[in-house]
Amino acid sequence: MTVKKHNYGTAILAAFEYLLEKYPEVFVIGQGLWSPWYVGNSMTDLDKKFGIKRIIDTPVSESACTGAAVGASLAGMKPIVVHPRMDFMLYAIDPIVNQAAKWSHMFGGQAHPGATIRCIINRGGEQGAQHSQALHAWFAHVPGLRVVMPSTVSDARDLLIASVLCKDPVMYIDDRWLYEQEDDLSPVVELDLLSQRPMITQDGSDITIVSSGHTSLLAREAAKQLDSKNISAEVIDIRILNPLDADVIINSVKKTRRFLVIDSGWLSGGFSAEIIAKVLEKLPVDSLLIPPVRMALPDAPAPTSRVLEKDYYISTNDIVKRATDLF
């Protein structure tokens, strides 16, 4: 057994360390940074290593902190604002959607607020409706805001670095249900966020399974089980939700002719619909053997009670079953 040096959480930490060491204009602002139990192992001791001037723990003021990050980026800094839960960030919609996402366009491309907004999907544990939301589809709807969802250990590090180095505002969304994943990390190569696109994480020929964030982990696990049932699944991790480059997915669906999209948000008006639309509008009507299938959360807030919570979220088994039913 090889020893895995990193997990998803420490990969994020490695990105912070890399950025803070190499780029003096990077600073981090958000709640909990001086006692980061909120964010798993992804920010441990940054305050001690880089000082509390650059690692700023804040009052409970999401709106001001996010706006401040956007403003600092206009003044030459590369700020990362951290929201330990996506739900808390909803107080900060204005600086994200009205300001950062519009800034370049409104002023004729003369200024670009390159702030990175790191927010975490953190659910389960009977926390319920206001501590569980996966709202990536909302944000991916907004032109001007790049939306990134890493699902692998290496993406956790490399896409955070790419997000921070990108000139545009980027929302980087990680998911606490991914933190246990382990992998080795090679030395950092700075990626250009603009050339990142959906990635085939497993080749296959019978069905295309597309997903993002935590559902990509589930999809990878499901694909292994499908293999043992002689179903060869091609698994695609979206990674960059906005702007979305669907070519990889289109080519895969052309090949497999079966199409399953899994999303960690709600079904209606969700990102799964966008994926299917972007693909099908580019394909002849008879491309698929059967209609495309979406798996997402029921159109209801997250319940707290353990029995309801268990049914609410998608499991690997659900995916295997749904995929098998398509044959």
Partner: protein, 349 residues
């Protein structure tokens, strides 16, 4: 940070019996009992969480019981009361039905929110409790809206929001102060200043430890009171609430206190608290709101150690059976997740 709270925030001060001048057993005993009940109920929850019987987080307010109990002496079931993440006491001070609290925290259908909310989402409209939620400051403007409704409806009901010292850092709280004042809304802002927002001491978050300064800024009448003195809280809030009911507009009351447990669950969280020490916790335990009242009552010979032991035992016993009952209650049925999303839907049977 400016230490404007002086002795009120000094853990070595205010340890003695509270003043019960002009008070009788008829008003004091219910407050003592209510505080004891809340404490014991929360200690049950702490244990249930520790033992893994409770699946979700519980934010306990042990040490802060005097606030909800003192304030609630002056509330009516027709008022509009809103809470936050740490609201067990807010509800139990209005309705001592700890069985339904236990059931809710365990995710059971018989709970205050029909098992759909757990510890952080409580509801009991019949007793004036219009909801508690864990988005910090999420209910402050809602309580204000209810107050404005009460005014439009020409009632003497009031809106009330329990607000932490951390919640005050959200912009919406300041918008609400201003709007309440300009609307002359019948609204009481109850500031529970326990000097912490999760791990962080107020000295690291605000330039003064006194939240009442925002009342001054908005020309809102206020009182700053020892949050572990239930008698003083009941008295001060009565004056403010009487004024609010008689149409004098909003008021604010700031209560200085401390939570004995950590931010969430049963640990003391000394390790994750920035500027939280075991010494401080020990000293704050000496400012115990229950002991300080009980001592005053015993000193005045209107209450005895034996009576307190009996009361404790009685509560302990009924809580044990309530807990067992809640444990064996049913979970919500599987259609509940979709059933409650809208008031009604076309295919409801």
């Amino acid at each position: 940070m400016k230490n404007d709270l002086k002795d009120l925030s000094n853990p070595e001060k205010c340890h003695g019996a509270v003043s019960i001048a002009n008070q009788d057993i008829g008003s004091l005993k219910p407050m003592l009992k209510s505080m004891l009940l809340i404490r014991k109920a929360e200690q049950h929850l702490a244990l249930g969480r520790k033992n893994g019987l409770i699946g979700g987080p519980v934010h306990l307010g042990v040490g802060q019981e005097a606030i909800a109990v003192g304030i609630s002496q002056n509330l009516k079931s027709t008022d509009y009361i809103f809470g936050a993440h740490r609201s067990h006491s807010h509800l139990l001070a209005l309705n001592p039905d700890f069985y339904r609290l236990f059931a809710e925290v365990l995710g059971k259908e018989t709970g205050f929110s029909k098992g759909m909310g757990g510890s952080m989402h409580l509801y009991d409209q019949q007793n004036g409790f219009y909801g508690s939620v864990p988005i910090v400051a999420g209910t402050v403007a809602l309580a204000l809206g209810a107050a404005i409704a009460a005014k439009l409806q020409e009632t003497d009901h009031i809106g009330l929001a329990y607000i932490g010292d951390g919640a005050v850092e959200e912009g919406v709280v300041h918008e609400s102060f201003n709007l309440a004042k300009i609307q002359d809304a019948p609204m009481l802002f109850v500031i529970e200043n326990n000097l912490f927002a999760s791990h962080m001491n107020i000295s690291l978050r605000q330039p003064s430890d006194m939240i009442s300064r925002f009342a001054v800024a908005n020309d809102i009448p206020y009182k700053l009171v020892d949050g572990n003195d239930v008698v003083a809280i009941a008295k001060a809030s009565k004056e403010l609430i009487d004024d609010i009911r008689s149409g004098k507009g909003p008021a604010l009351i700031e209560l200085v206190t401390y939570r004995w447990y950590g931010h969430v669950d049963w640990r003391d969280d000394v390790d994750v608290g920035v500027e939280r020490s075991l010494d401080d916790i020990e000293n704050w335990r000496k400012r115990d709101p229950i002991k300080r009242l009980s001592k005053a009552m015993i000193d005045a010979e209107m209450w005895s150690q034996n009576q307190e032991v009996d009361l404790n035992n009685e509560l302990e016993e009924s809580m044990k059976s309530a807990w067992d009952k809640a444990m064996s209650d049913p979970y919500p049925s599987s259609d509940a997740t979709l059933k409650y999303v809208y008031a009604e839907s076309k295919n409801d049977s």
